[in-house]
């Protein structure tokens, strides 16, 4: 999925590319992966993809940001919104190994708000572990 950066004066040069994919591991778990940049342009699509995932019945949604190269405050706002609107029994985990994105999480102070894991496996396993630790 390619999108043109509309907020730029020179679309050819400033176009950002991003790709949002969704796969269902099982009836309760969906994995949404984002490749490219998460910014003002791609954030809304990310939001609706995540909302759809939860509305389709998944109680666990893992956002894989392994291929994400950049994330701005708008995308962060989307993640915050999703996190805050979680219902009982629903979980939202983030997989992120990119230093740039991790730093963004860190600076924003939101790294403590999300369950962030280095790999997808850890995230899927960590859900349970995290749940256990929270108790």
């Amino acid at each position: 999925m390619r999108s043109r950066d509309e907020k730029t004066d020179r679309p050819t040069q400033a176009s950002t590319s991003f790709e949002i994919g969704k796969r269902e591991l099982d009836a309760r778990t969906s994995v949404v992966s984002v490749a490219g940049e998460l910014d003002l342009v791609s954030a809304p699509q990310l939001k609706w993809t995540l909302v759809d995932a939860f509305e389709e019945g998944a109680s666990q949604v893992v956002l894989d940001l392994s291929q994400t190269t950049f994330m701005d405050s708008t995308a962060l706002g989307v993640l915050v919104g999703v996190q805050r609107n979680l219902e009982d029994g629903e979980r939202f985990a983030i997989v992120c190994a990119q230093a740039v994105v991790l730093r963004i999480f860190e600076i924003s102070g939101m790294d403590g708000a999300f369950s962030i894991f280095a790999t997808l496996e850890e995230a899927l396993a960590g859900e349970r572990a995290d749940t256990a630790r929270a108790i």
């Binding site: 730029t8 400033a14 190269t69 405050s73 708008t74 706002g77 860190e106 600076i107 102070g109 708000a113």
Partner: protein
């Protein structure tokens, strides 16, 4: 951007207004033309009325003078008659009074004369004497004709005398070819007898009348009566209309003919009787004739024709003429007035333009006139509409300027002007909107606190655009209030976070709040999801101070406790402190490069700052950023504090982290301690202590003094949910020491 669009809008508005004005002008022009049409049409409609005024006057004249003039009144063109009368007027007026006198006498004479007809005329005397009696003449003239027919005259001698006079004049009058001959005989004969009033050169008519009176003694006397009567009454006719004068002449002629028929041989005998009378008649005739001469040829012809018809009867014509002529003068004023009136009405018709338009209007079919009327109405409606539209446009323009001024005020409320210097600190702020959509949301404030500290607030409200505006104001003023109240940056953020969490409508705000204490040269700042400030020392090339960003506090409005981190930095020497929003570091430098290279980043920002030097302003910095960046997806806001001093480098004194029980044992806390230089083996103990210090429902503050190689770690309990907690904390601190 906003200015450009406003300029464009203004231009558009102006262009529209101009178009409307043009339309209005065209409409008005159409209106004018159609109005001209309509007026022309109405003028045309009125024209008959206008020309009818004189005509109506003419009928009125006959009514009064009926018997004398009206019946046989020739249908001479109004204009001609009018002109003629007008031409004669001056002369006629002069003679009018004399004439009247003469008339009075002449009447008196007929009365003395034995003629029965004169008797019949006598009743008319009083009327003649009263100048304005209009009725008299009618009867008199009618009576006069019979009198002439009766033939036998009694005032032969007088008439003769007059005939003599006329005879003199007759010679001089070449105007009437035939008449002179006939009248000439008598005239010559009598002219010897008396030259009473022969001052003026005789006229044809005069001679004619003389012979006429001579021919009919009784008739002449009667005419003497009628003459004056006519002269007096005629005014009524002449006054309204100049026509009567010629008209009066014409009728007289037929009458004269009749007389002539009956009295072929009388002239000589009658001459004496008609002397005086004749003389006066001559006067009249002269006057009339002179008047007539100046007048139209048609009238002259008529005058001439009268004498032509009969020599004897010719006298009556002149008489009638004279009377008519006399009447005109007497009421010259009235006549003039009426003429003026008539002219006033007729004036439009005489104008060539109006005449042309009238012609055109005459040609235009009625249906088309309706169409024109409809077009006129439409044009008027359009003109009114365009006028209203122009009014509205002007009003809107006014409102627009007012609104722009208001917007400027609002923007100033969010992005206030900052003095160039606050105490010993040079301050500058700058804001640059994004190159695309998503502008708005950035805010800043720099102000001096009561105790001499300088406070700085720089933030960014997510959910860009206009929705962010009210929240930016809310966050900025809330934070400012807490800072003014004396809270530390962290306390202010924490309190504001607790207060504002439910008021941002789903948006969240990242903020950095700082205070600078000039005396102690201490910078204290706290971030809530916001990039920390860049602090560059005197050796600016060394790069900025690298603060610990681990365990950063979350933004305001995400439902999490914020204001949990605070750093205190000592700035002993020269320094440049740069607060900024993420729009600056997220500006795109090179879209072809890798992600790291693409973002402007904090490093490039520090470089730019070092390039600009110590005296740089925020405007210069943002200009440099904008210069180097290809695109700026977000707004950029920056605030610079320039601090003078020695070459000592700035250093972090204290890092604070507030933890609750769960966080105290969390992985983040460990990372934070590591980043702050706490030895690994101490970390577990510290976290355990923190966990213990933080009660189940309370928090603990980890305070790391980083003056030495290893930071001093202090733990203190903190309750910042309420303002009074400050005092409690202060007491606790005192107690701890």
């Amino acid at each position: 951007m906003a200015r450009e669009s406003s300029e464009r809008g203004r231009r558009v508005v102006r262009a529209r207004a101009g178009a409307r004005l043009l339309l209005a002008g065209v409409a008005v022009a159409i209106c004018a033309v159609s109005l001209a049409f309509v007026s022309a049409a109405t003028a045309k409609r009125e024209h008959p009325r206008a020309s009818g005024v004189p005509q109506a006057g003419a009928p009125a004249a006959p009514e009064t003078t009926t018997s004398s003039s009206a019946p046989s009144q020739p249908s001479t063109p109004a204009s001609q008659s009018g002109d003629a009368s007008g031409a004669t007027r001056p002369a006629a007026r002069e003679h009018a009074h004399r004439h009247d006198d003469g008339g009075g006498r002449s009447k008196g004479e007929p009365a003395q004369s034995p003629g029965a007809s004169s008797e019949s005329a006598t009743p008319a005397r009083p009327k003649p004497s009263s100048e304005h009696s209009a009725t008299g003449s009618a009867a008199q003239t009618s009576q006069a004709e019979p009198a002439r027919e009766q033939g036998p005259g009694h005032k032969h001698e007088r008439e003769r005398e007059r005939e003599h006079e006329r005879g003199h004049h007759k010679d001089g009058s070449g105007g009437e070819p035939k008449h002179p001959r006939e009248g000439g005989r008598h005239g010559k004969g009598h002219s010897r007898e008396g030259g009473a009033s022969g001052e003026e050169p005789g006229t044809a008519t005069g001679s004619g009348s003389g012979s006429g009176t001579a021919g009919s003694g009784a008739s002449s006397s009667a005419e003497g009566g009628t003459g004056p009567g006519a002269s007096l009454t005629a005014p009524a006719i002449a006054a309204p209309q100049p026509l009567p004068a010629p008209a009066a002449v014409a009728p007289a002629a037929p009458a004269a003919i009749a007389t002539n028929a009956t009295l072929p041989g009388v002239p000589v005998t009658h001459a004496p009787v008609g002397r005086r009378h004749g003389a006066r008649a001559t006067h009249r005739a002269r006057r009339t004739s002179t008047g007539r001469r100046g007048a139209s040829a048609g009238v002259a012809e008529r005058l001439a024709s009268a004498p032509l018809a009969l020599s004897s009867a010719a006298a009556t014509a002149p008489l009638a003429l004279s009377s008519a002529a006399a009447t005109a003068p007497t009421h010259a004023r009235r006549a003039e007035r009426s003429r003026e009136d008539s002219r006033g009405v007729q004036a439009p018709a005489t104008s060539p333009l109006v005449r042309t338009i009238t012609k055109i209007v005459n040609v235009v079919p009625v249906a088309l006139r309706w169409v024109i009327a409809a077009l006129l109405a439409l044009a008027l409606a359009l003109a009114a509409r365009s006028w209203l539209a122009a009014l509205r446009a002007r009003r809107l323009e006014h409102q627009r300027t007012q609104l722009l001024a208001d917007v400027g005020l609002l923007q100033a409320a969010l992005l206030p002007a900052v003095p160039a210097r606050l105490g010993p600190v040079g301050t500058s702020v700058a804001y640059q909107p994004a190159t695309g959509p998503g502008a708005g949301g950035d805010f800043y404030d720099v102000f001096a606190l009561e105790d001499g500290q300088i406070a700085v607030i720089v933030g960014d409200v997510s959910g860009h655009g206009r929705q962010a505006l009210p929240y930016t104001a809310l966050v900025r003023f809330t934070l400012r209030a807490y800072l003014e109240a004396g809270l530390s940056p962290r306390d202010a953020l924490q309190t504001a976070g607790a207060v504002l969490d439910r008021q941002l409508g789903g948006a969240f705000a990242t903020v950095v709040v700082a205070t600078y204490q000039p005396r102690e040269r201490l910078l204290v700042y706290a971030c809530a999801g916001h990039p920390p400030p860049l602090v560059l020392g005197s050796n600016m090339r060394a790069g900025s101070l690298l603060p610990v960003t681990v365990c950063g506090a979350p933004p305001i409005g995400v439902g999490m406790r914020t204001g949990t981190r605070q750093s205190t930095i000592s700035i002993p020497g020269r320094a440049q402190i740069c607060f900024h929003t993420d729009g600056v570091t997220e500006a795109r430098v090179d879209s072809q490069a890798s992600v790291h290279a693409r973002l402007f980043g904090a490093e490039r920002l520090a470089e730019a700052l070092a390039d600009l030097g110590l005296g740089a302003t925020a405007q210069e910095l943002l200009a440099r950023v904008a210069e180097r960046a290809e695109t700026r997806p977000d707004d950029m806001a920056a605030c610079l504090l320039s601090i003078d001093g020695g070459s000592e480098q700035p250093m972090v004194l204290v890092d604070e982290l507030e933890l609750d029980r769960a966080q105290a044992r969390g992985e983040r806390t460990e990372r934070f301690l590591l980043a702050c230089g706490v030895p690994g083996e101490e970390i577990a103990e510290v976290t355990r202590s923190a966990y213990a210090a933080a009660g189940p429902a309370s928090t603990v503050v980890l305070e790391l003094r980083r003056t030495g190689a290893a930071p001093e770690i202090a733990l203190r309990r903190d309750h910042l949910a309420y303002l009074h907690a400050r005092r409690r904390r202060a007491e606790a601190e005192v107690g701890a020491r």
